[in-house]
């Protein structure tokens, strides 16, 4: 049977009544030992009989057409089996949640590095060498590679909003800032490169891949190949990081599938690191004009965010730059605009916290600038502008602990010791400064199904095609089921990442834990009802703990209630009207202390604190890791991360981890994370909200605000590399 819930009303807090006491505990990941000892088998690590290796061939033009692929130039090379270029090839990965094939066709080239063919050989090295040697003729067309000068610019309706009169409000206000910030292209650069192994059994395809949202990926792969989704099975039990780059089916999966079918043997296609940079989703660069005006009390009267982002022709995705700005602060006169420049660059898509990750870098620095202009503490300015109702739609907010996060963070960090005047603290060559920023990330729930089986031996199994991309899904689902069924966590197994299992929401948009957790919760509710019936009490009276059921003066070991065999229930959660009736988001506050070198402009982060509230915390340890990881990316966004494009042909210049600078251990100080206790009844039946993208949202702005406080240099062009800081430092 199925226990179904549509989220049309706030839900009671059943999980505050359960007895096991494991939910929320900082438990280890059950699959952790497998991962750290190399026994968790990732997509590319499967060794199938008679498997061949394919290597994608990259286009070396920015725009045009493939006229001829000279297969003969490589066919005679050792080990080479085939050179395949097929009209079903993908130009770029599918956007997250597309559920259908992206733009297809290998002949039209839209960006430098686009996969145009796959060379298959007996070994990876042979395939790579042949791919590198393949001669390709192109008809080159003139490309638009610079978003600032692109000839085609769209203005999507959903990204335009005018409310009141922002120009008049700016003119009238005693305090106003009108500033432009830019953020660069970033890459997800997951540790595990994108990889697929395709294996056909008749007309049925099994794909071992590294993907985030299997329900959609299955549909995308089937659609790309022109086959029924019933004939596609995708396995992704372990994913070595995704950050959005594995949301949609990608060129390597389709190439492997076509090659495997053509050759009649399994084919593996692994992207080299350089191809991950060139061929998977990038985070769009942004140029953002922020306008803020405040009255004498520091209350916003105007708020504007107008941005330009970019993407390939034909892609509907555009970076939702202002996503959090809409709901975060008040201000009657508002203006939002977006321009999408159509450029011949790698496809832009969702990268961890699309919208907030870049939009808040600009907004939260501009708020810092306004605080200074208004002579207000940056925290006070923010607290004065927390709106009662959504400033555009007028709807109410669900649980929102922003003010409490700001206050708790200030207390823990020692914010009162900060001098509002920049450049006041020096230790040798180093100038020390403190900065803060708000964290906010819109909360989303996604349709989810899960199946829970309770066995007579006191063990349970939870199954869904949900993925764990390093986020802790295995741990969280296990804990949730253990809590609901009154079992120690070790008695529960989570089985994930297989499209033969009930379809989950996938990992994306921070909805995974709440959505799949809610589905598992609902399944457990169904089982609890069955157990109550067996025991002879009501479901409300039922108490489950350590394998024993009690209720209505009755008590029984679970085994006694399962004499008919295992109990099986599916949970099915569907988002409902609470998504529209409540403005839902996770909130927090970031604090950073930096040291800026007065000689060189180098910045080192000395400590960071994040205080967050995201509804019920399901596992304090994995939640903390998510927030820390996001804050580390905040350091990268603030200081180092930038995809560089050649100004002439737009190709990505820094295509490896030596030159694309993610923070390394020495860049990352002790990061403190604290959670405030919160329940969000409007979010989902387990009262949790998204957390995976909260940590990055605003984090970089706290660092850059701290740089200003340290040395008085306001960098408005992310990342704040030393040359930009240096330009504002006094002569030595």
């Amino acid at each position: 049977m199925t226990t179904y819930l549509k989220m049309d009303a706030p839900q009671p807090r059943h999980l505050d009544e359960t007895a096991q006491g494991v939910l929320g505990a900082p438990q280890d990941r059950p699959e952790g030992p497998l991962k750290v000892s190399g026994r968790a088998v990732y997509a590319a690590e499967h060794e199938l009989d008679n498997m061949a290796d394919g290597f994608l061939v990259r286009a070396t033009i920015s725009k045009g057409r493939v006229v001829r692929i000279d297969e003969a130039s490589v066919k005679a090379m050792p080990g080479v089996l085939a050179v395949i270029s097929d009209e079903r090839f993908l130009r770029n990965p599918a956007q997250g949640g597309a559920g259908a094939a992206p733009v297809q066709g290998a002949a039209e080239v839209a960006y430098f590095g686009q996969p145009i063919a796959v060379v298959v050989a007996e070994t990876f090295e042979q395939a790579r060498h042949a791919a590198r040697s393949l001669k390709v003729e192109y008809a080159v067309e003139e490309a638009d590679v610079d978003p600032e000068t692109a000839s085609k610019v769209d203005t999507p309706d959903r990204r335009q909003l005018d409310q009141g009169d922002i120009a008049a409000a700016m003119g009238d206000a005693p305090h106003a800032v009108d500033v432009t910030y830019t953020t660069p292209v970033q890459s997800s650069a997951p540790m595990e490169p994108h990889a697929s192994i395709a294996e056909w059994d008749g007309d049925r395809l099994i794909l071992r891949g590294s993907y985030q949202m299997l329900k959609f990926n299955r549909a995308e792969l089937a659609d790309s190949l022109g086959i029924s989704a019933q004939n596609v099975r995708i396995l992704s039990p372990y994913v070595g990081g995704g950050f959005g780059s594995k949301l949609g089916i990608a060129p390597e999966a389709v190439a492997a599938s076509i090659a495997a079918q053509e050759l009649g043997r399994p084919v593996r296609v692994v992207m080299a690191r350089q191809q991950v940079f060139e061929g998977t989703m990038r985070r769009s660069e942004t140029r953002q004009r922020i306008r803020l005006a405040a009255d004498t009390e520091g209350r916003l009267t105007a708020l504007g965010q107008e941005d330009r982002v970019s993407n390939l022709v034909g892609e509907s995705f555009s970076e939702p730059t202002a996503q959090a700005t809409h709901f975060l602060y008040g201000g009657e006169n508002r203006r939002f605009k977006q321009e999408v420049a159509r450029v011949n660059r790698t496809c832009a898509g969702s990268v961890r916290a699309p919208g907030e990750a870049v939009g808040m870098l600009a907004l939260e620095c501009a708020m810092d600038e306004l605080a200074e202009a208004a002579g207000l503490d940056p925290i006070e300015l923010r607290k004065r502008n927390i709106p009662d109702l959504h400033p555009e739609s007028g709807i109410q907010y669900s649980a929102r602990s922003l003010a409490a996060c700001l206050d708790e963070g200030a207390r823990r960090f020692g914010w009162s010791e900060r001098s509002p005047e920049p450049g006041q603290r020096r230790e040798g060559e180093w100038l020390i400064g403190l900065g803060m920023a708000t964290a906010a990330r819109a909360n989303v729930l996604s349709e989810a199904q899960a199946r829970v089986t309770l066995h007579p031996d006191g063990t349970a199994l939870v199954e869904t095609d949900m993925t764990d991309i390093g986020t802790g899904t295995y741990a969280v689902l296990r804990q949730l089921v253990a809590e609901m069924l009154g079992l120690p966590s070790e008695k529960v197994e989570a089985r994930l990442g297989d499209t033969d299992l009930p379809p989950g929401p996938g990992s994306g948009g921070s909805w995974g834990a709440s959505s799949s957790g809610s589905a598992a919760f609902l399944a457990c509710r169904g089982i609890r009802q069955m157990l109550a019936t067996k025991l002879g009490c009501t479901a409300d009276e039922l108490r489950l703990q350590d394998g024993t059921a009690t209720g209505g003066n009755l008590r029984a070991p679970l085994a006694d209630l399962l004499t008919d065999g295992p109990m099986v229930e599916e949970g099915h959660l569907v988002p409902g009207t609470t998504a529209k009736e409540f403005s839902q988001a996770s909130y927090g506050a970031h604090f950073a202390e930096v040291a800026v070198n007065a000689t060189t402009g180098e910045t080192r982060v000395r400590r960071m604190l994040g205080v967050f509230a995201a509804g019920r915390i399901l596992n304090e340890k994995t939640a903390r890791s998510q927030c820390q990881g996001g804050m580390v990316w905040g350091i990268g966004a603030a200081l180092t991360e930038e995809i560089a494009h050649d100004p002439r042909d737009g190709h990505i210049v820094n295509r490896d981890l030596a030159e694309y600078h993610v923070p390394v251990n020495l860049d990352v100080p002790q990061i403190e994370v604290a959670f405030l206790d919160e329940r969000d009844d409007a979010a989902c039946p387990i009262q949790s909200k998204g957390i995976g993208e909260l940590g990055i949202s605003g984090a970089g702005a706290a660092v850059v605000n701290a740089i200003y406080n340290a040395c008085g240099v306001r960098v408005r062009e992310y990342p704040a590399t030393l040359d930009k800081v240096l330009a504002g430092l006094p002569a030595l």
């Binding site: 060498h129 190709h651 030159e659 020495l666 030393l722 240096l726």
Partner: protein, 330 residues
């Protein structure tokens, strides 16, 4: 990766005999293997020299140090004699790469690192160093990490080594065994070349030449030694500017100074005129500015790397202030 022959040498003489044209020696392989995977380097033959007996660090009769070519960067940085007598070298080594890489990388190989120029690394881009005559993609391209001194219209790449910069300041000599079996010593100043119109020729070594050791002269007494590396992140990033400094005070004057720079040129950069400007003078900010003026008199930015000019000046001044314990002018 292109197929290649692999030969393991058991003595320097067999190594040089096996290493003809188209061959490369391999030791740590921390740079060569990456470049082979990308087919930026496509040797037909690899001569593995890791079994050679070149792993010792020993005192020379003159009181200097002879560093076997296969001594790893980690071992060299940690060697007590190096730490005591040549701290600039130890610090330069430890500022480079990562612990894992330093455990594999060798002294000889480090000297022969290839540039990190993005265009060199991408076979689809023009690069006179990788593909002579194809042009220089970095000129007019993205050139944040490129040279401001000694570059040419054919190549603006920089040498990426930290170790070599310190060795340049220490006046090291490179011991080489030629294909004919004859040994010779090359001053490090003469090992690396400027790009000129043949950027593919990065050193003065002949095909088959095998670096067997690096010789450091006897340590200078009572010197201040420092290696200051400025980079885009705290670790695992190549120098934007680095300064190796060995300075001796003579009373309140600078008695002698050696300054070598990384990140500025196609080779570890040393300019005798800079040192002449400083030697015998009383340290002051004015003097340091004069030294920086001299260093940068022909500096030329390429757009993306213009910041290296003020950065080199500031870094040099800070190092000299520290070396001479000079307070900043008010």
């Amino acid at each position: 990766m292109r197929p290649f022959d692999y030969i393991r040498a058991d003595a320097p003489a067999t190594a040089t005999k096996e290493a003809g044209a188209g061959a490369r020696y391999i030791a740590g392989g921390t740079n060569l293997l990456d470049l082979m995977k990308l087919e930026v380097m496509t040797p037909e033959r690899l001569v593995d020299i890791t079994r050679l007996d070149l792993r010792d660090v020993e005192r020379t009769p003159e009181g200097g140090l002879k560093i076997g070519a296969l001594v790893t960067n980690s071992d060299l940085a940690a060697h007590p004699d190096v730490r005591r007598d040549y701290p600039v070298l130890s610090r330069a080594l430890l500022s480079g790469a990562t612990g894992q890489l330093r455990n594999k990388a060798t002294a000889g190989g480090n000297l022969l690192q290839r540039t990190r120029c993005y265009y060199f690394y991408d076979p689809a881009q023009p690069c006179n160093k990788r593909d002579p005559g194809s042009g220089c993609g970095a000129i007019g391209g993205f050139n944040r990490i490129h040279a401001i001194l000694g570059a040419s219209e054919h190549c603006i790449a920089t040498h990426p080594s930290d170790m070599a910069v310190a060795m340049r300041a220490l006046d090291a000599e490179i011991e080489v065994e030629g294909a004919d079996g004859a040994g010779r010593r090359i001053p490090i100043a003469d090992l690396h070349r400027l790009p000129s119109d043949t950027p593919q020729d990065e050193t003065t070594l002949a095909p088959g030449d095998l670096i067997t050791a690096v010789i450091l002269p006897p340590p200078a007494k009572n010197t201040f030694q420092a290696y200051r590396k400025v980079r885009d992140r705290a670790s695992y990033a190549f120098a934007l500017v680095s300064v190796a400094c060995v300075l001796r005070m003579d009373g309140d004057r600078i008695g002698g100074v050696a300054l070598a720079f990384g990140g500025l040129a196609h080779k570890p950069w040393r300019d005798p005129e800079v040192e002449a400007t400083l030697t015998g003078e009383s340290p002051s900010d004015d003097l340091f500015d004069k030294a920086a003026d001299t260093l940068l008199r022909e500096a030329q930015g390429q757009g993306g790397n213009d910041f290296k000019i003020p950065l080199a000046r500031r870094t040099l001044k800070a190092v000299l202030r520290e070396a001479t314990q000079t307070e900043a002018a008010a």
